[in-house]
C-alpha cells in the first residue's frame, strides 16, 4: 500500500466515522437543546440498539432489515419511557437530569447483562459480505457493512434536516430550543415536543447501534467510548447547536482517524480530550454556540 493509497483509505474511513459520530452526537445535542439535559444514557441506548439487532438477527433469525427496524422501535420506546418517568420531573435541573440519566445508564447496562449474560462473544455474521474497492484500487477496501452505515446515517441526517427546516413540527421544535417559555405562549406543547425530541434522539442512537452491530464488539460498555467522543463533539461544536455538532463531528472524526492511523488510538483520544479542554478554555461556547450571559 503506497502513501497515497493509505491517505485515501484513511479519508474514506474518516468519512464513515464522521457519519456515525454525527447521528450519535446530533441526538445528544437535540436533547440538550430542547430539555437542557445531558443524557448519559445515550450511549446505553446505542448499546441496546446493537444488542437488540444481534439478538433478533443472529439468535431469533429475523431478516436483517426487520431487526434494525425493531431495534430502533425498541430504543424509541425506552427513550419515551425515560422522558416521561425521569426527564420531565427534572426539567430545567441540569445536574438532576444528568444524575438520573447516569442511573438509567447503569440500569440499562445491567439489564442486557441480566438478559443475555456476560462474557459471551456476541458474534454476528455480517449481512453484507462483499467489499468495495474504492475507484478500482485493489488495496483500498471498504466493506459494504460500513457503506451501509454511511448510507443510513446520511439518510437520517437529511431527513432530520428536512424535518427541522420544512415542517411546522420542526419549527416548533426549534422554537422550543430557542426559548421554551415564548414557545409555550405561542401554543406549542413543550411536553409533546420533548417527547418527540426524545423519540428522535433515542431512535438515532438505537439505529446507530443497529447498523454498527456487525462491525464492533457488542459489550454492555460499548457505549462509553462513543459517549466520550460525542461529548467532545458537543463541546467543540457548541452546546445545543446542531450545525456546530455536525461540523465538529466531521472535523473530529477526521482528526481522530488520521491520528489513530499514523500514531495510535490512545494518543488520538488523549489529543482529542486536550483539544476539547482547549476549546473550553479559549471559547467555552464552542464554534457555533450562542453567547451566554452570566
Amino acid at each position: 500500500m503506497t502513501d497515497l493509497e493509505l491517505i485515501l483509505q484513511t479519508v474514506l474511513n474518516s468519512l464513515i466515522a464522521s457519519s456515525f459520530t454525527a447521528i450519535f452526537a446530533v441526538g445528544l445535542v437535540l436533547i440538550f437543546g430542547i430539555m437542557q439535559i445531558v443524557n448519559f444514557a445515550h450511549g446505553a441506548l446505542y448499546m441496546v440498539g446493537a444488542y437488540a439487532t444481534w439478538y433478533l438477527y443472529a439468535e431469533v433469525g429475523l431478516p436483517f432489515f426487520a431487526s434494525i427496524v425493531l431495534a430502533t422501535l425498541l430504543t424509541m420506546a425506552i427513550g419515551l419511557l425515560m422522558e416521561r418517568a425521569l426527564f420531565r420531573p427534572m426539567r430545567g435541573n441540569l445536574f438532576g437530569g444528568l444524575i438520573v440519566s447516569v442511573g438509567m445508564m447503569f440500569v440499562l447496562e445491567v439489564l442486557v447483562v441480566y438478559l443475555f449474560g456476560q462474557g459471551l462473544m456476541k458474534n454476528m455474521t455480517p449481512y453484507f459480505k462483499e467489499s468495495w474497492h474504492a475507484f478500482g484500487i485493489e488495496s483500498v477496501t471498504i466493506s459494504h457493512s460500513r457503506l451501509f452505515v454511511f448510507a443510513i446515517a446520511a439518510f437520517i441526517l437529511v431527513t432530520f434536516w428536512l424535518f427541522m427546516s420544512r415542517t411546522r413540527l420542526g419549527w416548533a421544535m426549534r422554537a422550543c430550543a430557542q426559548n421554551p417559555e415564548a414557545a409555550a405562549l405561542q401554543g406549542i406543547g413543550i411536553g409533546k415536543i420533548s417527547m418527540l425530541a426524545m423519540a428522535i434522539s433515542a431512535a438515532m442512537a438505537g439505529m446507530g447501534g443497529a447498523v454498527m452491530s456487525p462491525l464492533v464488539r457488542i459489550t454492555p460498555q460499548m457505549g462509553h467510548p462513543v459517549l466520550v467522543t460525542a461529548f467532545i463533539v458537543m463541546i467543540v461544536g457548541g452546546m445545543g447547536s446542531i450545525e456546530g455538532a455536525l461540523i465538529a463531528a466531521v472535523a473530529y472524526s477526521f482528526f481522530h482517524t488520521f491520528v489513530t492511523t499514523y500514531i495510535g488510538g490512545e494518543i488520538a483520544t488523549i489529543l482529542g480530550l486536550a483539544l476539547m479542554l482547549l476549546v473550553l478554555i479559549v471559547k467555552p461556547t464552542g464554534i457555533m454556540g450562542a453567547r451566554e450571559s452570566v
Partner: protein, 330 residues
C-alpha cells in the same frame, strides 16, 4: 454543653466503640470490606469539601489515582512508604492545583465535562505509557507499610487487622481536620461561594481563589486515600480510577446528601453494606446503584440524611389531616 451536642458526642462514642470491636468479630474478607469503606469515607468527605463550593468535579477518582500512582512509584525508588504516602497526597494536590487553572475558568456543566476530560486524559496517559506507569496492567508489588523499631516492636501493616486500625486512625484524623476546615472561616466562605456566588464576589471574596483552595485541599486528602489503597492492595491499574468509580463516588455523595457533613459518610456506609450483601449477584450491582440513584433524585433530593426530617414532616402532615378530618365530622 447543650443536649444536642451531648447526644452527638454520645452517638460518636458508640460508633467509635463499635468500630474498635468490629475487627475481632467479623470474618477476614469482611475486614477487607471495612478497610475499603474507611478509604472510601475519606474519599467522599474530601469530595464534599469540593462540592460545597458549588462545582461538581468528575476528576476526583483520577486525583485519587494520582496519589496512588505517585506513592507507588516513589516507594519503588525506594523511599519508605511512610514518606511516599504523604508525598502522594502532595502530588495529587499539585496536579489538582495545575488542573484548577483551566477548570475554574468554567462553571456548571462546562466544569463537569472539563474536569472529566482532564481526568480521562491523565488516566489514558497511564494506559498509554508503559514506562513508568505499567500500561493497562498497572503497577504491582507495591511495598506494604511496616513499623520496624528494631528489637522493640515489629508490626507488618500489610495484615488486615493492623491495617484496619491504621486506616481507622488516619480516617478519624482526616475527618476531624476536614470537619474543622468546614467550620472554620474558610468553610463559611466555601458555603457563601456556593449559595451566593455573586454576592460573595461583591463583598470582596475572591471566589475563584476559594474554589481553588477547596479543590486542592480535597485533592490532597483524595491522594492520601489513593496511597492508602495502593499500599494495602499492593497492585493498582488505571481501571480502578475510571469513570465508573467516579460515578460511584457521586452516587455515594448524592444518595447520602450533600447538605450535611455526615451525609456522604451515611451514603457510602449504607450503600456499601447493601452492595456487600449483594455479593453473589456481582454483575447486577450497578443496576441496583442506578435504581437507588434515580429513586433518590426523584423522591429524596436532599439525600438519606434528610430522611428523618422528611418522615417527621410527613407524620405531622398525617396528624394534621387526621385532626382536620375530625373537625369536619363535628
Amino acid at each position: 454543653m447543650s443536649r444536642r451536642t451531648c447526644l452527638n458526642a454520645a452517638g460518636i462514642a458508640v460508633v467509635l466503640a463499635v468500630i474498635c470491636v468490629l475487627p475481632f468479630v467479623v470474618r477476614p474478607y469482611q475486614l477487607d470490606f471495612l478497610i475499603f469503606l474507611f478509604i472510601n469515607v475519606i474519599l467522599v468527605v474530601s469530595y464534599r469539601l469540593i462540592a460545597i463550593t458549588g462545582e461538581f468535579s468528575l476528576a476526583h477518582a483520577v486525583i485519587m489515582g494520582v496519589g496512588a500512582y505517585a506513592s507507588a512509584l516513589l516507594a519503588s525508588l525506594p523511599i519508605s512508604p511512610w514518606i511516599s504516602m504523604p508525598l502522594g497526597g502532595v502530588a495529587a494536590a499539585v496536579i489538582a492545583y495545575i488542573l484548577s487553572f483551566p477548570l475554574f475558568r468554567m462553571k456548571g456543566f462546562y466544569f463537569l465535562i472539563g474536569s472529566f476530560a482532564a481526568a480521562e486524559a491523565i488516566r489514558l496517559c497511564w494506559v498509554q505509557f508503559n514506562d513508568p506507569f505499567g500500561g493497562f496492567r498497572g503497577l504491582r508489588g507495591i511495598p506494604v507499610l511496616e513499623i520496624d523499631l528494631g528489637d522493640l516492636l515489629y508490626l507488618d501493616l500489610g495484615a488486615p487487622v493492623p491495617y484496619y486500625f491504621f486506616a481507622m486512625i488516619v480516617g478519624l484524623i482526616f475527618l476531624t481536620v476536614m470537619y474543622r476546615i468546614e467550620h472554620s472561616r474558610f468553610g463559611f466562605v466555601f458555603h457563601a461561594v456556593h449559595h451566593k456566588d455573586t454576592l460573595a464576589q461583591s463583598v470582596g471574596v475572591d471566589v475563584r481563589r476559594y474554589r481553588t483552595i477547596a479543590f486542592v485541599t480535597g485533592g490532597f486528602f483524595a491522594g492520601i486515600a489513593g496511597a492508602m489503597l495502593a499500599h494495602y492492595v499492593t497492585a493498582i491499574n488505571p481501571g480502578l480510577f475510571g469513570l465508573k468509580q467516579m460515578l460511584f463516588v457521586l452516587v455515594w455523595v448524592l444518595v447520602g446528601g450533600l447538605g450535611h457533613f455526615a451525609g456522604p459518610i451515611i451514603g457510602v456506609t449504607v450503600l456499601s453494606i447493601i452492595d456487600e450483601s449483594l455479593r453473589g449477584l456481582d454483575e447486577l450491582r450497578p443496576g441496583f446503584y442506578g435504581l437507588v440513584l434515580i429513586a433518590t433524585m426523584l423522591f429524596l433530593p436532599d439525600g438519606l440524611v434528610s430522611l428523618p426530617r422528611k418522615v417527621m414532616q410527613w407524620l405531622v402532615w398525617l396528624r394534621k389531616r387526621g385532626e382536620g378530618a375530625l373537625a369536619r365530622r363535628e
